[in-house]
Symmetry: C2
Subunit: 372 residues, 2 copies
């Protein structure tokens, strides 16, 4: 019952009447200049199976100087109360994809720590000797740079530090925003508010820019009071921003929420304000992680997180096994979003449309209109 000795290649070799080298050659698919006879091949495999032998991954790693370990550095978790389905999905699918390729993933969940967080992360990463590192939305370039500088393959996801030359996999936010807004416009909405983040990352800025561009393309004004930005993607923030835009006159007939967490808060605010969704106001959201479970189910832009993870793993494994062509610029993959239409979006009611037409005229200052 206490730890029985594990079977080693020596056991298999002895039992099969061959050398350990032969065992290794057979089990690793007879690589190099080594030839093994069919007979030996069979015998070795049979013995290995009978004994339940599997090569010791640690010894193999030491010999090959490859740990077959990929580090995954998840996004920094803000103190949002609902967990992080996006981080979770990415990590889950990274794990599965890696396992399929014979790698395993160690997740580097740094405690929400202080300033020297980057130093600590870098040291930890280096001390673990991963074959490669996947960064999900790194908030600073330092750790990524440190890996690149030491020749450790790195890949960045979702919100990369573009200044660091690594392969990146991102989701086409422009398309997501466009689809969502087009959907609202197609339903007849012309007073659309934007709930977003004022974090200066380019991903946030480009989402807002895209929102404005789409409205402009439709000849719809985007008054400043309809653009509500807050510091973090929490439900409370979403509720607060919703209250803010509701106070506009005329109020919007539709809300574009930059995250499902915002949509949660928005629904609470609307519920409290006794504004019915989608009868009195439509809501479209981004992420599609909670949207389906809300009441009513919310139309939302889904990101292909599974594919993001799978591509990342494929890229990192390729870099590990084939070596990176550091000559040419790193590959950038952009994956499409999908719009899941649900009960929260509906044409604006007749009277609201009338109000809207009147309002448009007075609101039609050249905010962004006509440009682009």
């Amino acid at each position: 019952m206490s730890k029985p000795r594990m079977i080693t290649s020596t056991d298999v070799a002895r039992e099969a009447g061959v050398s350990r080298a032969t065992v290794s050659a057979v089990l690793n698919g007879t690589q190099g200049n080594i030839r093994v006879s069919d007979e030996t091949h069979r015998r070795v495999r049979a013995v290995a199976a009978a004994l339940g032998y599997s090569p010791h991954p640690v010894a193999r790693a030491l010999r090959q100087q490859r740990s077959r370990m990929i580090a995954f550095v998840p996004r920094t978790m803000h103190a949002t109360e609902y967990g992080h389905p996006i981080a979770y999905q990415l990590s889950l699918h990274t794990d599965r994809a890696a396992a399929r390729l014979g790698y395993h993933v160690i997740e580097v969940n740094t405690e929400e720590s202080a300033t020297d967080h980057d130093e600590g992360l870098i040291d930890f990463l280096l001390s673990r000797r991963p074959d490669g590192v996947i960064f999900d939305a790194p908030t600073t370039p330092h750790a990524v740079e440190a890996m690149v500088a030491r020749g450790i393959p790195a890949v960045q996801l979702m919100r990369p530090q573009f200044a660091v030359a690594t392969p990146t996999i991102i989701v086409d936010a422009a398309q997501g925003v466009t689809d969502a807004v087009d959907h609202l416009v197609a339903l007849g909405h012309r007073r659309i508010a934007y709930l977003g983040s004022d974090d200066p990352h380019v991903a946030n800025r480009s989402r807002l820019a895209c929102f404005r561009a789409v409205l402009a393309r439709h000849g719809i004004p985007a008054p400043a009071e309809y653009i509500a930005l807050g510091p973090e993607y929490t439900a409370e923030q979403g509720a607060a921003l919703t209250w803010r835009v509701l106070r506009c006159s005329p109020p919007p007939t539709a809300l574009f929420s930059g995250a499902d967490t915002f949509a949660v808060g928005a629904l609470h605010a609307l519920h409290q304000a006794r504004i019915r969704v989608p009868d009195a106001i439509s809501l479209v959201s981004y992420d599609d992680v909670y949207a389906a479970m809300l009441c009513p189910p919310v139309t939302s832009v889904a990101q292909p997180l599974r594919e993001v993870a799978e591509r990342a793993v494929a890229l990192i494994v390729a870099a590990i096994e084939e070596g990176a062509d550091s000559a040419q610029p790193p590959i950038r993959i952009v994956l499409p979003t999908g719009l899941h239409i649900r009960a929260s979006t509906w044409p604006p009611s007749e009277e609201l449309v009338l109000v809207s037409l009147v309002a448009d005229r007075s609101m039609d200052r050249p905010e962004e209109t006509g440009r682009k």
Copy 2:
């Protein structure tokens, strides 16, 4: 830029003018019978720091026959659409707790595969040579047994296979159910329906038994038609079960939902039926993963997942480092739940209470009443 050779203990030894053994002794805290002078100590540390040396974990693992790796086997994911916050929280906190103790976690996310799933899992686990394995709600005893049989420390969480003698960490479901039902009763509810799972695991059965016991203690009937069981914890199921109990006459004034996913479906059903929560019906749920974000926020029983994970890691590390006392029966930890009271629970409205009093009389067959 291409992979620079890593610093080894030889480098440090040479630079510091000592042997590699001394370096090892210094960095590992001068264990065994070895003494190192303060002077040497300082010099070695200085050199190590200057060179950015950290011992190669793979070499160390090979030498010490300990990989410092814990395998975490998450619960089988049913095809629920909303992700698995519980699995995620457990995995996240397992990871963090392990990192604090110098271990890292590899998560064994088996693809939802076919029958021989267990075989594959066992082989995979053994081939990775983890120092210990944490099982979250294993659905069969085989893999756990396999580890125990080979002397690999194992711990089971949440819904253990009690037949296998390992340390277990579970949450006090009886307390959770009791608190929730007591809360409803204290509000004045006497017609309380139960939405649960008919999966035969003891955890489910004991929840229902506990539900009945609490009602019995209060002298409240638990008619069979108020007990709605379905095969899986999905929102659809929750909605279906809700419809079922709503058709009872008299209908319940409160719902106990065995999982937040059920509560999601329940709210959809109630919304569709135009039954207001908590005005016309109260809802209390279990898990507290989605409850806070629903509309209205749902009263729910929270499980201390973080502590579950931390205890599990502490236990497994103790077993790894101190060796298990396989003589005495394995430790069983039961952690308390917490009831988070939110807007979904409220006293039943006057008229409903009246109906209830009349109804009680006709419903008072000796279903479970009086018995404790």
